[in-house]
């Protein structure tokens, strides 16, 4: 079923470059610096995780990458071209699922195809995406009939049907129970391996970051700066008990300032 989604086109992931990106909000007249000169180079088909404390600016950074906002300073490029507006090749799974309450799960997932006029030719992908996230039986349910975790999985399916070149994930598995979470992590990895899109994942879960990503970027408190970068070149599937994995986990916790707990 993963193959069905991935094999339609041989998608090649796109590159992503952040050059000295800074961002500031206005909070009641006071400037609130959120991002502080973030520079990052993500290669084609790479899986990068962003890890940082709550409120440090991760979601803000993802909105900039998606093209929904423009940075106060610095520039973001994909495939060497400046990101100016949202584009369906860069799909976001937001922190909050935000399904349209007036559409069934099926038509929520169909949204991207419908918006681009591809519904007639690519209809089958919706079924595949729903199967991938385990929501086949709920195609005709309305969002208010779903649990929080099911809504999140529906939002994931809504992103996956679009065959993105860059998949931007903002804590997409945050509300899932640990078992479903492990299953979805495995699905994400195998999906990523097959369709070779570039993935940018925000998570609070150190293990999740290390299980999925090739590189984990540790961010500081607000305003977010890149504090450290931990590379994990272990082959997939990775195992939590593996000594090298345990070592990497300790390293990341140390970077987050939690070393004394270990």
């Amino acid at each position: 079923m993963v193959a069905a989604i991935a094999s339609d086109h041989a998608v090649r992931g796109s590159t992503l470059t952040l050059r000295e990106v800074s961002h500031r909000f206005d909070l009641e007249g006071q400037p609130l610096p959120v991002l502080d000169r973030i520079s990052l180079q993500v290669g084609r088909g790479e899986f990068v995780a962003l890890l940082g404390p709550s409120g440090c600016g991760k979601s803000t950074l993802l909105r900039l990458v998606a093209g929904l906002d423009t940075p106060t300073a610095g520039s973001l490029l994909t495939e060497g071209r400046e990101i100016e507006a949202p584009d369906p090749s860069r799909v976001v799974v937001f922190q909050d699922p935000t399904l349209y309450p007036w559409r069934t799960v099926w038509s929520n997932v169909a949204l991207g195809l419908e918006a681009r006029g591809l519904l007639r030719t690519h209809r089958g992908r919706i079924e595949d995406a729903l199967r991938l996230v385990g929501l086949t039986g709920f195609a005709n349910a309305y969002p208010h009939q779903l649990s929080g975790g099911m809504a999140q999985r529906a939002a994931l399916a809504r992103a996956l049907v679009n065959d993105p070149k860059l998949l931007i994930l903002d804590e997409p598995l945050g509300q899932l129970d640990s078992l479903t979470r492990i299953a979805m992590q495995a699905e994400l990895v195998s999906l990523w391996q097959r369709s070779s899109f570039t993935a940018l994942l925000v998570t609070h879960d150190v293990e999740e970051a290390l299980l999925l990503a090739g590189r984990v970027i540790v961010l500081s408190d607000r305003p977010a700066r890149i504090k450290a970068e931990v590379v994990n070149s272990q082959p997939y599937p990775r195992h939590r008990g593996d000594p090298h994995f345990v070592e990497l986990r300790r390293e990341v916790f140390e970077q987050l300032g939690l070393d004394e707990a270990w």
Binding site: L68, P86, T98, Y100, P101
Partner: protein, 339 residues
């Protein structure tokens, strides 16, 4: 009796005892007492003579109608023992009972005792008389009112909806339309009446304009506020998935604003009734509003009550129609809001 019977354990397959199941029994008793009440109204109308100086032509007819209704209700109550569909009807029993009591009282204080002054308070059979003798003109009135109302309402709703979407969506449209709306909108549509009747070529078109105006204002304002209140996250989602402006308006903004739009449509419908009656009374010389005024002019109060009754049916029927349209279009809201 039911408490005793309920305590006796009995095998469930003895279906003959189903008759004594307490809820069935209760609804049968309810249904039969309603039928009894209506037959009482019939008997009372038929056998208690009208006041000697009055000459109501349809006292007998009214009694027969009540009797026929009583018979039908009795049959329905008995059918309820066997068919669940008829049992549902029993929910109406208290209302049907109250209605019978009301008619009996009305009959008593008018035709039988003559307690209420006469041309103003005719007995029920006078209204039956109007319905039978003047049904042609009443039907014409309903038709004329419905046509005027439908044309004006649909026009106003459509224009209001489009205007509301335009102001909600486009800053420039908002800049120009918003002040006009602010200034003119709160003016009651009937204030335009004198002007409209001389500017428009016919009183019919003038009335359409007034009804459309009365409908359009609330529809515009609520559509606008609905569109303005759409969560920006909804747009973010669609934009990252490649939506065009057109898609954002038609598939995101409008569906999200629909609950508000319906509030506007309900308010507009209420306004349009008020303007309809005034316009018919003052200008159109047709329709139920005009009939009302005509009846009053000739002191034909029974005709007036008949027209009022029909108007109530027309208005509440249209409201019901709009409710069922809403239920159909906004069924996704079930479970999300108190329905």
């Amino acid at each position: 009796m039911s408490s005793v019977i309920d305590e006796v354990p009995r095998p469930s397959e003895q279906s003959g005892f189903g008759f004594f199941e307490s809820s069935t029994t209760r609804s049968l008793i309810g249904g039969l007492s309603v039928a009894a009440a209506w037959s009482m109204v019939a008997a009372f109308t038929a056998f208690w003579p009208d006041r000697p100086e009055s000459d109501w032509a349809y006292t007998g007819g009214f009694a027969i109608a009540c009797g026929a209704l009583a018979l039908a209700l009795a049959v329905a109550a008995l059918a309820g023992v066997r068919f669940v569909a008829f049992q549902r009807l029993q929910r109406l029993s208290p209302w049907l009972f109250a209605l019978a009591m009301f008619l009996a009282a009305w009959e008593a204080v008018t035709a039988k005792l003559g307690l209420l002054p006469l041309p103003f308070f005719p007995p029920p059979q006078a209204i039956v008389e109007v319905a039978i003798d003047d049904w042609g003109r009443l039907a014409e009135g309903i038709f004329a009112s419905a046509r005027l109302l439908a044309t004006g309402y649909l026009l106003g709703a459509a224009v209001g909806f489009v205007t509301g979407v335009a102001i909600g969506w486009s800053r420039r449209a908002g800049y120009w339309i918003h002040p006009v709306l602010r200034f003119i909108g709160p003016l009651p549509a009937t204030a335009w009446l004198p002007l409209a009747f001389f500017v428009f070529p016919s009183s019919f078109s003038a009335s359409i304009f007034l009804i459309a105006l009365a409908t359009g204002f609330p529809v515009t304002v609520l559509t606008w506020s609905g569109i303005a209140g759409v969560k920006s996250a909804y747009y973010d989602i669609a934009r990252t998935l490649g939506a065009t402006q057109r898609f954002l308006v038609l598939k995101v903004a409008i569906p999200a604003a629909m609950p508000h739009v319906f509030v506007g449509l309900f308010m507009g419908l209420g306004n349009s009734f008020a303007v309809l009656v005034v316009a018919e009374m003052l200008g159109v010389k047709a329709g139920l509003g005009w009939y009302l005024q005509w009846a009053q002019g000739w002191a034909a109060y029974a005709n007036m009550y008949a027209a009022l009754l029909l108007m109530a049916f027309l208005c509440s029927g249209l409201i019901t129609l709009l409710f069922s349209l809403r239920d159909r279009l906004l069924s996704w809201q079930k479970g999300l809001v108190r329905w």
